[in-house]
Subunit: 390 residues, 4 copies
Amino acid sequence: MSQVAGTRVGIVGTGWMAATHTEALRRLGVDVAGVAGRSPARAQEVADRLGLATAYDSVEALVKDDSLAAVHVTSPNDVHAEQAAAALRAGRHVVCEKPLGVSAGETAALAELAAGSGLVNAVCFNLRFSPHNHNAAGMVRDGALGEPRYVTGAYHQDWLLEETDWNWRLVAERQGHLRAVADIGSHWLDLVSFVSGRRVVEVLADLHTFVPERNHPLEEVGTFAGHTVASDAERVRERMTSDDAAGMLLRFEGGMRGVCSVSQVSAGRKNRLTWELSCSERSVAWVSEEPEYLWVGHRDRPNETAGKDPSLMTAMGAAVTGYPAGHVEGYPDTFRGLFAAVYADVAAGRPSAAPAYPTFADGHDVMLVCDAVVESARSRTWAPVRRSAP
Amino acid sequence: MSQVAGTRVGIVGTGWMAATHTEALRRLGVDVAGVAGRSPARAQEVADRLGLATAYDSVEALVKDDSLAAVHVTSPNDVHAEQAAAALRAGRHVVCEKPLGVSAGETAALAELAAGSGLVNAVCFNLRFSPHNHNAAGMVRDGALGEPRYVTGAYHQDWLLEETDWNWRLVAERQGHLRAVADIGSHWLDLVSFVSGRRVVEVLADLHTFVPERNHPLEEVGTFAGHTVASDAERVRERMTSDDAAGMLLRFEGGMRGVCSVSQVSAGRKNRLTWELSCSERSVAWVSEEPEYLWVGHRDRPNETAGKDPSLMTAMGAAVTGYPAGHVEGYPDTFRGLFAAVYADVAAGRPSAAPAYPTFADGHDVMLVCDAVVESARSRTWAPVRRSAP
Amino acid sequence: MSQVAGTRVGIVGTGWMAATHTEALRRLGVDVAGVAGRSPARAQEVADRLGLATAYDSVEALVKDDSLAAVHVTSPNDVHAEQAAAALRAGRHVVCEKPLGVSAGETAALAELAAGSGLVNAVCFNLRFSPHNHNAAGMVRDGALGEPRYVTGAYHQDWLLEETDWNWRLVAERQGHLRAVADIGSHWLDLVSFVSGRRVVEVLADLHTFVPERNHPLEEVGTFAGHTVASDAERVRERMTSDDAAGMLLRFEGGMRGVCSVSQVSAGRKNRLTWELSCSERSVAWVSEEPEYLWVGHRDRPNETAGKDPSLMTAMGAAVTGYPAGHVEGYPDTFRGLFAAVYADVAAGRPSAAPAYPTFADGHDVMLVCDAVVESARSRTWAPVRRSAP
Amino acid sequence: MSQVAGTRVGIVGTGWMAATHTEALRRLGVDVAGVAGRSPARAQEVADRLGLATAYDSVEALVKDDSLAAVHVTSPNDVHAEQAAAALRAGRHVVCEKPLGVSAGETAALAELAAGSGLVNAVCFNLRFSPHNHNAAGMVRDGALGEPRYVTGAYHQDWLLEETDWNWRLVAERQGHLRAVADIGSHWLDLVSFVSGRRVVEVLADLHTFVPERNHPLEEVGTFAGHTVASDAERVRERMTSDDAAGMLLRFEGGMRGVCSVSQVSAGRKNRLTWELSCSERSVAWVSEEPEYLWVGHRDRPNETAGKDPSLMTAMGAAVTGYPAGHVEGYPDTFRGLFAAVYADVAAGRPSAAPAYPTFADGHDVMLVCDAVVESARSRTWAPVRRSAP
């Protein structure tokens, strides 16, 4: 870890992800030098709050600061691709929040740019780094479960339940065409592909807009904070077209099938991702709100509820476990694990042959699946994931 | 309950359901007079084991015994409709295991016969009678949850995981075209329709046959007992065509949507049904293996994990609760609750205007949904549930 | 089971236990002939409700009915010993609710009478018959867990939380000196002794009376129903002396130690018994409100959450399991299991050499532990369980 | 937070707690300047691993570094008091791991020194800072639960189960007289006192040594790592006298009672702390391995399973919550919360009138309870907590 200490990085974006990244980087000894946002004033405010030395005047200024080894992009989705590309072009390693962009067109170009840059590029599918997700991925790769056959699960939240809830994700120009699928479905899709080692090849989706109109407050509203807007705030009524929720049937490489539901309007589900993977010999299942345990299902002996015990995990699982069994590692720790993997490559100056973290190529792949979701929902039939020939 | 005591009934079928029905009927004081099966010898064996006075020579003989007020049909699916019809024609009230038949054609005729008979007719969607399912249905009907919007869940088992597992449900002629969907998916479909008060109107399904060939033992094998067949038993290799598992996207009356997965090949999931219903104000969720609790999700106050406390349930829930809170009511109790409702009508000599139990009309309705599942899986697009005009 | 069918039994008592016993007996095909209570009128009311043929004029009349093979005593604690003795003297097999009496003096005499009678005698520690409790007992006896060392847990309820709650158990003359310990602590003490195969030899107890005064309604109040008394019912203020709750440190045969808490004033705990047994190699734990699972703790491999799968249980566990895995067996099923064991001996006409159910000797042993609890609470130090020399 | 950024601190100790503290401090922007340990070489090794600039030659050298605002003591228990005192005398604010020392004699002197120093002093009862523990404490203080009456629970681990497990805590000279009670029981005792706002006044304890002899390896063994020692390592057989496990009955201020079990030899319990607090109106309960939820028990409405949602928590709970609901905060986050409270006072240059973190006075109070535990176990009766007159 000592090579990491002192590495300087800059953060683009001033929302709660900026704080989350800052904390996780600091745990590793990385030096978070400063932040840039939509305005110098907002950057200064966040720099003060987080104790960062520099509030950059602009994203451009930050990207061009040659003292920075890497840039983290945590802004709204519509500027991800452009900012990440600018940072790569300036020679920075780049860590970008998901989704990587708002269309597969722009993420294709970005992934290509990254691949040719020789620079480290990572997309924040942080949930892979909750230790049991790596542990389960290790079980699949070790052949301990047999052939992956069937993956089911859900990602449900409730912070957009009420028509008075608001966030930039409700503005199509900033979020992209898909909302719930892009925002949280993308996590689920990446995670089950990672665990199973299988990519989605065909999709059948049904998109739902359960809240057809919303009251758009004129002030800015933070993520997960919609219900804190004063009830007498000035608002504009707006018609909604993006998905509050969605159902997906999935076909993966190697004959694996899947079923997934996604919702941001499920009262009481604050942030609950579940997956269950049935393989030819065993099953595994995980629930994000109880990350300490991995359920392992057996036909011919009692099921297991494995604790997060490095001495009892696969090598892949133990490698990303930071604390002893029973010492729960939660949401902030997933960023720690992800960035530890990324900064090992940053310290080496270049991406590994097989990076231990999700890359822009992975981020682009999920965008292709999202495109198939849109196509399928419109055509009411199966849509293929249109990967270009290798 | 006193009018019920002494009512005489006969059981058709000699499997584990015959024993389950017998126990539940006896709890109510109903007199289980005898049993009929495929052969007089098998009937005698079961009569001896269960302590029943009469082993009928044939189903016909049982049905024609005028001392019987009611007949329970617990045989394989392919003879349900024919036996139930025979019992109705003989003037018996009839309780039939699910599914009501192997095609919507035969169940349409049966439901019509039942409706015109003036006799009590019930199909064994027993899970409705786990108290919290009635409790949740009461919440929807009372308007406590807002408008039902989105129902998700699963029904997973593992008793057909291995290619050496066998049961009559694997023989298309006895089970019908669908397997996992008809056997357990039918329970889920009925249950969420009951709880939400909404019928399925359109389906998109994907059917999976993960175990493409099986070894068919020549001896008879009981349900849930496939893995007890001796490994050296004589077997015939057979190609499988029916569904081990399935994914379904659903559209219901009133704009409600749904997502469901069904599997009988999920290692470690012995018999786990889950549902979660997101409504416009609250959510509710239930897990069959932990029936004591109902999860109630809130946006603006802490979520609840309601116990099975009659004093804290809706009237619908309290009405089917037999024991105090914390005194878990399990699987056998669901039959007790179902039969208590049925035999109140039997005691009255005729069905209520609005029966408190699922009728043959409900059993037929699920068959129509199953037909839409088959059609959708073939056509790769949405299929409507083809209810005839009222 | 066929020898059991038709056996005639009578029930003494008219509370909810009379109904619970009746249902469980009927499941086995036992003929519940009639009931006796404090008055002929009350007996008739219960007979009508349960559909029983006979309402006996008195307990004496019931006990002397020579058509009865067995008598079940479900009355308040103060008359258990006297009624059970009367039934034994009349030559009936006897099943008695717990606790077996209100003092170890009277239960000593009763246990001696039973032992000399050649008749079947059982006390209703029904929780032993939740399948995983037998399963765990089998693990201990098979040596699968190593040496039992340390047992901890609790039995908490809330139905006596409020000062307006009332029940005959609050009247010392009917309940005995101890309340929470005798009523529910006795279940816990019997259960962990059964599972571990170790008897308590020494006790240190602290008794608590958190509700020092209560409002005694003049009308009769059923168990678990205190809060249904009308708020304007006539009541008398009474000072309470018995235990609402208690803490116990325990020493068992063979060096095993234990810690237990008991409470009937824990808001929200409807009826929750938990135990955890640490042995020299493995641990096991069970929670009464989630009876489908047994937790098995390992040091050097992942913990297990065993389902109630007869094919994966010990022989002891499988023997008392009535339904397949995932088909939850709840509270009523524990009586079915207990009575099935009892009536196998009734059918044989005499107790087995090693009865598979708790006998009056077991019921007396728990009374001796309760006496030690009282002595310890008074003396503020350890009290031995004063078993007479064999 | 900006005043905190750049504050320099030094760490005493080179075990896993040194790393845990370093990470948590860095999240807040605190500058962890260096580390001191038993030897300069060991300090250098840890400084390299954690990316710290300075490896001090000795604890003395670190303590005297005037560039340091604060010192964290994470060494074995026997040197806590001496090192903390040295740091205070040198004018450093001090954060000390628990227990604060090995006898109430030394912690009394230390607490007095701290109180007179005008310096910030904190003891690492970090579990208070899992958000729901603060949330529950807020509920008690707000009167939302009624009067606290009865607290029960356990703290069980398994890392010292086998006779080949070893750690410095097994050496009485370094750990003190008590082992399990001091190491983890102290956490439980502090936590329930914090939540309930009640101090222990009297104790009855039973101490158990289930593993009477152990094999002491000659090499140093890290905490939670005993089972990683090579099986052929050189070892010495040693007789054990300290507690593997213990049962405690407790009496608190205001008539509250308690029952607690503690064990480090419970196979499968990796690090599980539970508490349940019954109050006169409601109950609350928490399980450390599932920190996202707080159970709130009600008598007259459904129980709650509250998520970690700042908008639905008490002010005390929300104040220490760092991430939105459903974004699990685990073990490392408790240190972040604790240190955030401590460093607000460090930034102010002095302790608040009512510090928001546990102080040396709190650490000493738990030592007094531990002394009463030892006294009670020896005398076999209740022992008072001997607080000196104020």
